[in-house]
Symmetry: C2
Subunit: 363 residues, 2 copies
């Protein structure tokens, strides 16, 4: 039994064992103000930094979800104006978070399945924050590294925040190119839902402090200064009682991965598994990649279009084999299905699923 849904997603046997052991070792019962928690959290932050290649001067904070980070960005970085590149549901939500805090949130939008032309877009000079989604989980459209580098130059002085929810941990990302990176752990990291992470540049952090001094930071007790007070100085803590189990699991996951080849290894296996699915898709009848442009097709979330009835039949057949297909999202819910390509989803799992799908989508 396994799931190909892009989140919450498949959890590896190792993590399931980590949870069982955490129960036995009393991890669920330790105080979040104890030295034992500090050690657990220190491992999490340090191993995560090593795994993702986080520059040492960037801060790392825990959130409960990437959704919480959308709010945090607008509250900590924006006095008046933000700008948002929209190409699906999740990039849209970053704009909503800003608008709902009373900010002037401008945007550009392209049809679902397409990617924005980043440098051809005029960004208002007043924009303090620019958001992009590196990997749109709703559509399966990704940015390229070249686009991000070019966008970094194009946004000039504004802060650039990159949503990496459904690709962090599976693809290469050059952290110095942006001010804020954020994700949640129920995607590539293959953990239970309930934990998000934001990685924040010194420049963005300073801006949040400046807004606070000016009485214009709307994050309240969740201001980055407050988070830093609890995290810095080797404290590794949080204002609230956090999701201790997930912090423990994320640390163990990154530690295990770092010992076994790190992100590089997963970049290679991600590409191999993507090639497997692309080969299967070639000349396939009755279904097609929703993202037609190869260069912008996600490495970690494949969105495949087909007739609703065919999708229902395929889902049913897979379910009989104990395999859960990822549902389409939002306005393309009925017309697409999704296959996650996360580290916990093995080549064997994908092959098994594709074999069943071959009975429904012929060559």
């Amino acid at each position: 039994m396994f799931t190909l849904s892009p989140g919450p997603s498949q959890i590896s046997p190792e993590t399931k064992e980590d949870i069982r052991r955490a129960i036995e070792e009393g991890v669920l019962e330790i105080s979040h103000r104890s030295s034992r928690f500090t050690e657990i959290s220190r491992r999490c932050i340090e191993e995560l930094r090593a795994y993702l290649g986080v520059p040492s001067e960037y801060r790392v904070f825990y959130f409960d979800s990437a959704t919480q980070v959308w709010h945090s960005l607008a509250a900590n970085l924006v006095e008046r104006n933000s700008f948002h590149f929209i190409n699906g549901s999740f990039s849209q939500k970053a704009k909503e978070a800003s608008a709902l805090l009373g900010k002037n949130a401008a945007s550009t939008e392209v049809p679902w399945g397409e990617q924005c032309d980043f440098t051809a877009t005029e960004i208002p000079r007043a924009a303090e924050l620019v958001t992009v989604c590196y990997n749109e989980t709703s559509t399966g459209v990704k940015m390229t590294q070249e686009e991000l580098v070019a966008l970094r130059r194009h946004v000039s002085e504004a802060f650039l925040a990159v949503d990496i929810t459904s690709c962090a941990g599976g693809v290469p990302l050059s952290m110095p190119e942006a001010d804020v990176w954020y994700f949640s752990v129920q995607k590539c990291f293959g953990l239970p839902a309930g934990l998000g992470v934001a990685i924040i540049s010194p420049r963005a952090y300073e801006r949040s402090i400046a807004l606070q001094r000016a009485g214009k930071n709307l994050a309240g007790i969740w201001s980055w200064e407050k988070l830093d007070e609890m995290m810095s100085g080797e404290k590794y803590q949080t204002p609230q009682t956090p999701n201790v189990l997930n912090i423990h699991l994320l640390g163990l996951q990154c530690e295990r991965w770092n010992r076994a080849g790190g992100l590089s290894k997963h970049i290679v296996t991600t590409a191999q598994k993507k090639a497997l699915v692309e080969t299967w898709m070639r000349d396939r009848d009755g279904c097609a990649f929703f993202v037609q442009d190869d260069a912008h097709r996600s490495d970690t979330v494949f969105t495949i279009g087909a007739a609703p009835e065919a999708i229902d039949n395929a889902k049913k057949a897979l379910r009989e084999r104990g395999i859960e297909l990822g549902a389409g999202y939002g306005r393309i819910k009925r017309d697409t299905f999704r296959i996650a390509n996360f580290p916990a989803i093995t080549e064997e799992m994908l092959s098994e699923a594709l074999e069943v799908l071959s009975e429904h989508f012929h060559r």
Copy 2:
């Protein structure tokens, strides 16, 4: 091995088994937009409502912690002025949350270990929100039911929010007497940390909507209207990918408890275990309840003062027997220890711990 710490706290064998079973049943991998999640969340909300006696017209929303609710109260209910009764660390933090959002947060404060005189306190007429902590986890001071009823009349038109973090689930609470009740699940509910709950009256909900229409609600995507959009109409969902495991566990816990006598049963066992500790404390040398007034001594968190060295020795002896004593909190960290009296902590556990403590604190 067990812990007497007031949170994160002892987890019962039943909940540990619930987690193991959840792993096997794939609960960690289900989509938070699936009908299976809706069923899990529906059970959680309905069983929790039944267990706590939540009036049907009150809304119930998930948060990641009670800390998040402090922010949510100030953001959703306060345009300008709030008022806070302070008698320890956590009641203080409710004020900070309001002040950090730029509100005019007034307060009254009594020394740690004492309770406020609620009706003798003049509450500014402009106060829109009044907060109290029903059970101060830092000091072990509680409110009485009579005080809450009298305070409800005294606050007049203001919204009354009651922090029940470390007593919800163990003591009787008359929900119609206040506008907002909130707690987190790592205390009496005996679950892993990472989930908070707020229970909100229709009147308070309407106020949050009115502030939003006026552009003065600072909760952004976390406004109660947004939470209600996802929760109402039998959706039982959340804007973000929530802590699915904890929602599952809370539902199972409440269901199990409701079948076995409900809150009434726990009120009785809580009182029995409190009597056990109080009897042990009588004429005890070298330690004394931090809260001297019997009427305000918490039923669920006992704070006991002693010499720092004696506490260290007792902690060490207990640890050798596999028992973790709760540490003191904040400014009384060195001079007190705490014993939680939550449902997962049995009479046998308390007796075992008291036996060891008897070797350090004689009669």
